[in-house]
Symmetry: D2
Subunit: 397 residues, 4 copies
Amino acid sequence: MTTARFAQIAPQLEGQAIELPSWAFGNSGTRFKVFGSPGAPRTIEEKIADAATVHRLTGLAPSVALHIPWDLVDDYAGLRSYAAEQGVALGTVNSNTFQDDDYKLGGLTHVDAKIRQKAIDHHLECLEVMAATGSRDLKIWLADGSNYPGQADLRGRQDRLADSLATIYERLVELGPERRLVLEYKFFEPAFYHTDVPDWGTSYAQVVALGDQATVCLDTGHHAPGTNIEFVVMQLLRLGRLGSFDFNSRFYADDDLIVGSADPFQLFRILFEVIRGGGYGPANPDGHSDVAFMLDQCHNVEDKIPGQIRSVLNVQEMTARALLVDRDALAAAQEAGDVLGAHEVFMDAYQTDVRADLAAWREERGLPAYPMKAYAESGYQQQIEAARVGGTQLSWT
Amino acid sequence: MTTARFAQIAPQLEGQAIELPSWAFGNSGTRFKVFGSPGAPRTIEEKIADAATVHRLTGLAPSVALHIPWDLVDDYAGLRSYAAEQGVALGTVNSNTFQDDDYKLGGLTHVDAKIRQKAIDHHLECLEVMAATGSRDLKIWLADGSNYPGQADLRGRQDRLADSLATIYERLVELGPERRLVLEYKFFEPAFYHTDVPDWGTSYAQVVALGDQATVCLDTGHHAPGTNIEFVVMQLLRLGRLGSFDFNSRFYADDDLIVGSADPFQLFRILFEVIRGGGYGPANPDGHSDVAFMLDQCHNVEDKIPGQIRSVLNVQEMTARALLVDRDALAAAQEAGDVLGAHEVFMDAYQTDVRADLAAWREERGLPAYPMKAYAESGYQQQIEAARVGGTQLSWT
Amino acid sequence: MTTARFAQIAPQLEGQAIELPSWAFGNSGTRFKVFGSPGAPRTIEEKIADAATVHRLTGLAPSVALHIPWDLVDDYAGLRSYAAEQGVALGTVNSNTFQDDDYKLGGLTHVDAKIRQKAIDHHLECLEVMAATGSRDLKIWLADGSNYPGQADLRGRQDRLADSLATIYERLVELGPERRLVLEYKFFEPAFYHTDVPDWGTSYAQVVALGDQATVCLDTGHHAPGTNIEFVVMQLLRLGRLGSFDFNSRFYADDDLIVGSADPFQLFRILFEVIRGGGYGPANPDGHSDVAFMLDQCHNVEDKIPGQIRSVLNVQEMTARALLVDRDALAAAQEAGDVLGAHEVFMDAYQTDVRADLAAWREERGLPAYPMKAYAESGYQQQIEAARVGGTQLSWT
Amino acid sequence: MTTARFAQIAPQLEGQAIELPSWAFGNSGTRFKVFGSPGAPRTIEEKIADAATVHRLTGLAPSVALHIPWDLVDDYAGLRSYAAEQGVALGTVNSNTFQDDDYKLGGLTHVDAKIRQKAIDHHLECLEVMAATGSRDLKIWLADGSNYPGQADLRGRQDRLADSLATIYERLVELGPERRLVLEYKFFEPAFYHTDVPDWGTSYAQVVALGDQATVCLDTGHHAPGTNIEFVVMQLLRLGRLGSFDFNSRFYADDDLIVGSADPFQLFRILFEVIRGGGYGPANPDGHSDVAFMLDQCHNVEDKIPGQIRSVLNVQEMTARALLVDRDALAAAQEAGDVLGAHEVFMDAYQTDVRADLAAWREERGLPAYPMKAYAESGYQQQIEAARVGGTQLSWT
């Protein structure tokens, strides 16, 4: 029975693309400790090779996001070619204004015009990288904020943020109408009293002030406890400003755990709302929807490559379940005010085990039925552990 | 020392006005129990008399908000005169679409056009009340939402909400350019899965779509845990859409406790940001700022009239402290990047005990130095307990 | 494949018992509004008839919990016989010290010895009911607490609570060694500043001081945000003090939604830990485990009888999934430090759709395969709506 | 008026002691970035010199806590003498089982007996340090936990924790009856799914199983949102198991901000409950109470030495305010059920500005009236910035 229903929704699974973050393959951890892992990449090329492995086994991850300056190279055209040889593209460019001593008290919002300009210039440099890599999106996540009441003038910072973003946006628009500035919000951390872009409302207000090529990035781990994230998805789609997702999951804070591992039902609800709101499916020239799916996770205690494979599979499985919702039956129950009936239609799709169908679907496409198993048996991990000796393993810093 | 500084800020305390909710004087409680209290009012006139008593003793509460249909009367002109005799004005009109069986699954967002129209008509009726009472603001708080995933179509409800509000707004504008629609948001309760206006971003997006006479009401108890409320105050003032406050305080949920009782420092920070953002002080024709200060509290276990007195005093005391912040020294420390110095300037004002100065200030104005004590000694409580016998004490239902 | 695995665990599903709360069938709501529902019971007998209907269709709910004084009758022996005729037993007796004006500031913790004695006497009366009904458990949930810092002496209240409980416990022990006092904790509400039994630690410390017949009730909705509830389950089982569950679910506060509707994965984890810790399965004379499973939910917007059916089915489905965990493979992966491997074993069981197997299992036992459907087709709802006309529908108050 | 009341409570301020953590003087930060600071210490001796400076200016910080292995030296007797020369003593010894690769999946709870033994041996080494330094307390904070459901067997870890602690405790007792094992709990981080000692109940259950020389450490930043911390203080004092405080403050997570900076009223309530429960004042041989006051903070963006000065002053100021509570009037209002009256007595003390009285009090004792100002004018900062050139600044890692 599942199989028949699955066949109906299977075409919609074609072309699903989830961008991988290059930094997911390096070492990461908490403020207490970053544990090393054998085979961790030492160069951006090794990161790309790892990402390409995920794509080869799943067919789900055709591009890799860069983080500047972590992934700074001299020759972006060369990097682009290298990635293409590996079978993946270079994707979103992420800026970084939180790891230089100058940014201790802020970057784009800093009270000192020189430091603000430095932060702006860094973004202009990111735009040059985008020009070289062909990336569509510049994603901006700000660590800006303060730790103590009184430390900073909340209003002044917000106004300066608007000015800084306007300068960056102006240059971005010059790169072409397909480019996008995507502004991420985050509830807290690393600033602990106030964060300059703490919620979707702030991100929305800022991007609307910029123009049509500015949108919001929704990171699933960046909300206050109890926030109904699918509601935010609905609202941003309704307002036409949902640019991208940073997928991950969390139990309490921004834990950066594997997407779908903490609350799989929440992931289902989010993906249902994406589909409901028109944010899923082919839309732009390269066949992907305008709402970009990305992972933004850190694998602190688990293996990194399998961690990424598990993550894209989780998104795919929940997408399939969300597509299985009988929308007509749902609408009928909702219109009838049948609370339990509507809930049951919704849950019926969620409860459906799509794994066997997805395995068959993969095999039809020349992909391994079980990518996690295929990776374990591939020998890739042993190979990189043997080969990647010496040098410095990459991590955030 | 305090006294000299106090003298400088004292003029700014003149004319501070905090509207009282008529329902604060009736019985209230939790879903578990509403405890009765001797002397509780049985009519809107008795509520107004109680509110007027608060104003007489504090000089801070010149108006009373109405809740329709709780405060429905036949003759609003007569009620207005009665209030004027008592020394107070009729203020904000609050609508209610949550206590009729038809609204079980929503009002302005309901899937059934007939129920939506009923909810819209209720608001049009509220506008007629406003015309009769001379009230400036129509405040809309919606209980709309759902309890179970799948129960409702989040997007459809949001679109219907926009339509319903547009109809109401259109009529409101006809009443004159000084009238305002104020849309309140609330994180959760009484709906438990999703709420149709759950956050400031949603309220903001909705009111911007309506027009310039639509603004946001920030109820201090209506946020997710950990939300930086003063940041929201800053942002809404910056965007020109902070219409009013519903003051109260809470430890966990929407507890409706006395404003300033749970986290006095938070109240200080909020009021500082109001002042910083230009939301405090004389602005409109009747001498009050465009940002309306209101209480929205329920006194479940404490006496109601002293509860309201304590509340307006708390707002006044924290306003005085917030005015005491040495803004020049603060700005200098902020510009110098002196984290602890700026924090110390801020905390210095917060730590200052302004009570003696305020007592003297009151006496100069013919008010009792200590309103709580004055109430206890006034005999008013004994009088209403003796007089208000028989009839039905008012409560929410 | 599922079917073979299911056959292995099926025997452990025999005899699963989930007690229903009599109050789930009456009207309930929030502080804002209690909506009425056609066919709502007007007597305890009608509540029992409704509960028996749930049991008849599911085989999962052989007993009904009473709430005193909501379910006060003159003749408990008669009530017991009536229930037996309907096919169910009378279960846990729940006390109530939160709806009498005397208890406004507390019951078992009250500063006034007379009110404390009244609250103690109420519990002694509950023990008499238990003697008459043959109930094993006296469940005590306290609404005691305070709303304002300084209002109450936290320490004095805790000491008085210990004294009051000791008096009740002494009498309970006299009723026989199988009787149990079960002390429930709750994070907040209806008290908003402090709650006298707010967490499992307090409940544990209090029951240990009483003796072996005192245990803790874990209500799944009564925790701070982010609490790892299955950890608490593990700890209380380890300490030998997990007496019972009050099942429900919530998104934010104590929402009393259908168990498993908000976070089904959490329910799975909880049930896994119950099984892991020896809290599931036949144990006591009447064939049920010592850890009592109960619902404690309110159906505010959904139909009550189907709401209870859905709830016991959710518990059964998640129990089946939790039993499906391959414990040997899990232990092996855990011992090997294989983070993703262990997680995958765990998730494999959770992802398994057991509904078809459970339907077959039910049919083998003469139960309807699909109880929700069977109820809808049974005509019971139409029958009670027609028959229960006049009288007063029961609700909390 | 304040002055007269202050004179009454002043004697109780004598001998107040707040232990400083050696690591507060090194560099610290978040997972995103650790910012360096000029003059940061490069040796444990330099940390002690900085701590002694705080004590010299405030008279409040007579001892320094050590963290092993961060503060590992060859000659503890020598270190003790050095500290004594500087005017401070060596205090609590803190263990560390979270920064070695072996501890990636746990220490005292690890599934592998060899790694558990390594963790136990580390604690035995800490006990040897204590014997050499004369420290009373061994404080154990565990980073143990897991990130993914299924990753670990919660129950097995808890049992192994009990075994490991028992071995350590046995050796501690041999060092003498005044030594204490203090077990800290923490809600989350660095583990994100489950933490092995997440709440006071777990810490309490574990230490009770050990014996009378085992107590609980309450870190004010380690609770779920909304937790009433003063209630936990009350309960642990009542149960005789409150060993020590780690003071800091937070807005959202374990932010390690300056104690009293986020919610000063909460600090007041905590200190009131300490005093109420007998946890404050002279008690043990060296003149300090059995409840140890410690800071555990990180100064990420602010200057470290002034950050510590501000912190101990905050504790002192709130202690003074808490001592000012008119306990007789409070008890009378509580007994009378006068909710607002009791609250007002409580708030009256909190609202009192004690800074001028404390300044005078300091001067009487030969201390600078304004320690923050005195530090700024002392030239100490300039001196260490000039002197501490070269070498490696210390931080957590």
